[in-house]
Symmetry: C2
Subunit: 567 residues, 2 copies
Amino acid sequence: MANIIRINMSSKDISVETNSDYEFLGGRSLSSRIICDEVEPDCEPLGKKNKLVIATGLLSGTIASSASRISVGGKSPLTNGIKEANCGGVAGGKLSKCGVQALIIEGKSPDEHCYVLFINKDEYRLEEKNELKYLGNYKTIKMIYEMYGKRVGILCVGPAGERGLRGACIAASDPHGELKFAARGGLGALMGSKGLKAIVVDDEGCNLISYSDKEKFMELAKDFNSKLANDPKTTGTYHNYGTTGIVKAVNAMGAFPTNSFRYGSTEHVDNLCGEKMNELILKRGGEGKLALSCMEVCAIRCSTIYPDESGKKIVSTMQYENIALLGSNLGMDNLDSVARMNYEINDLGLDAIDTGCALGVALDEGYGKFGCEEDCMALIGEIRKNTALGRIIGNGALITGQVLGSSRIPTGKGQGFAGYDPRALKGNGVTYSMSTMGGDHTAGNCFGSRGTVDPLGKENQGELSKTLQIQIGTLDCIGLCMFARGPLFADPSILADIVNFRAGSSYDKNTIWDLGINTLKIEREFNMKAGVSPAHDKLPEYLYEESLSPTNAVFDLTEEEMLKSII
Amino acid sequence: MANIIRINMSSKDISVETNSDYEFLGGRSLSSRIICDEVEPDCEPLGKKNKLVIATGLLSGTIASSASRISVGGKSPLTNGIKEANCGGVAGGKLSKCGVQALIIEGKSPDEHCYVLFINKDEYRLEEKNELKYLGNYKTIKMIYEMYGKRVGILCVGPAGERGLRGACIAASDPHGELKFAARGGLGALMGSKGLKAIVVDDEGCNLISYSDKEKFMELAKDFNSKLANDPKTTGTYHNYGTTGIVKAVNAMGAFPTNSFRYGSTEHVDNLCGEKMNELILKRGGEGKLALSCMEVCAIRCSTIYPDESGKKIVSTMQYENIALLGSNLGMDNLDSVARMNYEINDLGLDAIDTGCALGVALDEGYGKFGCEEDCMALIGEIRKNTALGRIIGNGALITGQVLGSSRIPTGKGQGFAGYDPRALKGNGVTYSMSTMGGDHTAGNCFGSRGTVDPLGKENQGELSKTLQIQIGTLDCIGLCMFARGPLFADPSILADIVNFRAGSSYDKNTIWDLGINTLKIEREFNMKAGVSPAHDKLPEYLYEESLSPTNAVFDLTEEEMLKSII
């Protein structure tokens, strides 16, 4: 059984344990389970009693494609409920190779030093690295590479996390030295509150992954990888556009957040879409790149490097959500502006979605002009300078709206909406309000089902959200990327078998979903005990009244319909 | 039966109704009941669906002393639960004389105009008075007196309420043209959110109060008034010190909030106490005054006018809570500083308690120095200028702490603590966390019982809080001042009879408390439906860990003990 490492930041003690109850758990099923087992639901999210759990996936570190996402869990300072955020990067696979199933970071450093947790095959140790304090993420990983060598995997927080801003995320280094983000829910503020700046994993000389049936695993994994590599979605969409291929479709359905969710589409769509991104990356060349993998083994390769006109890298990765929230939501008309803002937000260590929502609310309240990159950059600069206004925005959309006096705050359970207006994609309204995760883009995103359930209809939205919460939740619970779902949902026995061959569990194509179902259930119980009651399962009132162009939709689902989503 | 006036600020319609279900209700029993009957508990506090209820007391407008407090109710933008705040002033009595039992202000003005609701014997009307927009409270009442004559009673909000700051209160004019405040819970932001700047009541030619048995009422009221006038607490304490007489006692027991609740006593107590206030008012003379009444009929007369060295008025009224929160809590060493800050806060229309807590948190986070009036005035100036930092502080202690990154936020259910550290007066810790009202000084204040229940002990605190919640709650439910409790608690049949003779009810000395009990029960139900669950019945974690000098107390009551307070 792999090790669970417990790091007490109050005492700086590190201990190692194993837990047979957790044998068949990984990813979100493990991180959420540990939080539910160990954290008092009504504790203060940034206090001593909350814990940060970093869990590896059930297939992590193996040759299976897209399966080494790292899962981060804790009580969220945004939603006050349980939160799981996961991302790619290389730390997940490396932790698995080092024989680590999960890290439990507890307590709170009583001193002001800046700590790095170093993990390799021989040891786990905390090191004072005050030279990293308040450094941006890009400088942080550069210095960590200099200190520990280029082969390490890194998880770290930027100044936003260190300063306890609720919009803060956790960054993960990828194979190209770029960053991925466990972005949602303010878990970067939780990590920062512990006094932990970074986790550095060196897997040199380690391959401690055990298999129940290695031969069958390898065979099935190769088959799965090949299916995924040959999936037209992989080669046609992800390799060319990453996640940005859906911009035009979301805009066409009128669900593309524009000017702080005032409109559902933008006239600038042709300059913000994936096709434009692809064209610019190819035309500009230089450091620009398409089809990069975000972890060691991935056939999907949806990462990109977006260059400026001279070919110099601006940011990696240009993504759909960031184009939506930092682009059209702020009234922008070009991808270069999005990329430049995105770089700053990444460097500060903030969630681009919640920060995009917060910036939108600030512009809507007159703190700048929509479509003006300079105004937005000035607001982001306030966060960098740690001014009062900067701290407001860095604390996310809800606090921004509350402080600045907005009655139009696009949040679900305190978390900023993802890039789909719930009036024109009603299933996402159900997920934003009813799911354990709040306004999330991965907790049951109904966009992909627009062909089967009318996004503007009043029926089947609750059931659709429920199904997707379970399906995508199950992938989260394994540590698999949701973009790998094509071959897996087509034949769920692959999903069951690959987990069984690795972990020794005995799932089948029907029972594999129990991983998701059971996790969603305990998350919901945690939330109820945390005081996140049905009264919090509500969308903002303005969505029920203010109609959204061009569909003129309002959010009009009945409570009965919403309740169908409960797992 | 008296009239209930319904003012729809969306349509500007005004209608009049009576409700026999409310016949025997007044004050908090009426305002809370209407909120529970009419407001969706999970609505947005500053949205269209919330309502502001202004209710007169059961004895209001009569000759009974201290009985014309006005009760203000609504869903609080600070606690997200139900809130009642009441205060003196003349509007309550005048409304009763005009035959008004309650005002229900609903909807939300769709335009940006500034409205005044005018009430006299002939009519109820809304008037656009844009010249009042964003004016401070002192200028506002001055202009209203000019517009409507000096005899009117006024309820109004300052710029804080108009700008939706959650720390905003509702001001009430008193017989001397000074202000009293329905301060707690952010109900000024609720009034402001409706687009209503002021309510003006002219009772000329009105005396529409009905009596079940006028003769007996008059006899009993005179007897009660005389008992109250001759109570040594009235003549010895209130006439000399107002509410400030307890400063030394609270400081001596180590419960006097000092430097943002870091200490329980201050070395400057001799310069902050009621004895010093009395000495300075008498010595300085001029406009300074002691023993003023805050409503038309009051034997207690605890209001004061505090003058500067030259005898010029600084502020009315210097009160205990304000000395605690704006004085020692901010490290101040003199009453003049408290008075000057208090004036500004009154003028802005903010709750001095929550704002004092918020300023303390800001100083604790380095936004100024404790004991420096200039720094505090600069922060208050930010509120005046409506800057980002000003909006943070004006939104109260909880948001201030969340935005500025504090782990020491002195709030109960989101509302700033009153001037008693719950570690050294544990019963108040129960009230702050468990009562329906949150961190309040009138919802079950255990200071007065320090002789019977050890303030530092671990026992009987839950029961004490419960008893006081009911007893003081019952006075709130009648519209009586809590300082009138001496003769009434000594012989509760007076309380029952005086209500019966006025309203025709049939309470006795045992059943009169049902008014409080029933109200507390429906308030609790409202809160549960609003999502204010038992998880919110908690004090901040730092109180359990950080010991408070000079007693070295921490908050250490068991959950079992706390639960004894549930009504």
